[in-house]
């Protein structure tokens, strides 16, 4: 039972019709592996927020999924404008979203804060003009 599952999905900037595909695939894997329901929901909500961020802000990106018995790791790595001020981006309500993003039901400045709320650990690195890398980790042990 020392199985490690890894998957990689590519994400295209601006392609809202497909936004959520990677998160949906991740949800299917987690369900198949019988992961705790509450953990699945927190994981896929965080993944989906991150996936929407790539579609909304970046030019292209990839989502790496890794899971073993103890942890689930999702790395969202994009080529895009990056984040000038990560601290500011983490504040609820701060947004640089365009009207196209708002029409899709997003862009309220809640994505990154909601990812942080749902993930057990989250780490962001960004280089303005180059891209952003967000790593989220979930412990598979059920929270008491």
């Amino acid at each position: 039972m020392s199985e490690t599952i890894t998957e990689e999905y590519s994400v295209t900037g601006g392609d809202f019709s497909r936004a959520g595909y990677a998160s949906s695939q991740i949800k299917k894997i987690l369900k198949r592996m019988d992961v705790d329901k509450a953990i699945i929901k927190r994981t896929v909500v965080a993944a989906y927020e991150g996936e929407v961020n790539i579609v909304a802000h970046a030019w292209s990106g990839k989502i790496e999924f890794q899971m073993d018995e103890e942890q689930i790791r999702i790395i969202l790595d994009d080529e895009g404008p990056g984040i000038e001020d990560i601290e500011k981006a983490m504040q609820e309500g701060y947004s640089t979203a365009t009207s196209a993003i708002r029409e899709m039901g997003f862009g309220a400045g809640m994505g990154l804060p909601n990812m942080k709320k749902n993930a057990d650990h989250m780490h962001i690195e960004s280089e303005p003009g180059k891209g952003t890398k967000v790593e989220i980790r979930m412990e598979r042990m059920v929270r008491e």
Binding site: A19, G20, V45, G105, F106, M110, N114
Partner: protein
């Protein structure tokens, strides 16, 4: 409240989920902002919205929402219906405003999430 009662009370149209007419929701949340929907963490919530696009269905899928009512006569596209069917999500179209839709369901006993 069962799906079939929601349809009756709202004089609404079922788009998919014929096999889930007895699925029961206790609480509802109304929003056009999917970011807000993604922050709620209740189970078996009915989503009432005027936002009809693929992200509405994806948001429901990620949030474990099994039933969506599209208010103010918003229409779901065939792609949305297909995606909802894949995830066993019931879709309902209703011509009433978001306010009236919520009012009727609240009056009939559906609870708010907060």
């Amino acid at each position: 409240m069962k799906v079939k009662e929601i349809i009756r009370i709202l004089d609404a149209r079922l788009l998919c989920g014929e096999d889930q007419l007895d699925y029961t929701v206790e609480m509802a949340f109304a929003s056009d902002l999917m970011s807000d929907v993604l922050t709620q963490n209740n189970d078996h919530v009915l989503l009432i919205t005027g936002l009809a696009n693929m992200q509405t269905i994806r948001t429901a899928e990620m949030s474990d929402i099994n039933c969506i009512v599209f208010a103010r006569n918003k229409k779901a596209t065939p792609e949305m219906v297909e995606l909802a069917e894949e995830s066993d999500i019931v879709l309902i179209e209703c011509r009433y405003s978001l306010f009236k839709t919520c009012g009727l369901l609240y009056q009939a006993g559906v609870k708010p999430i907060f």
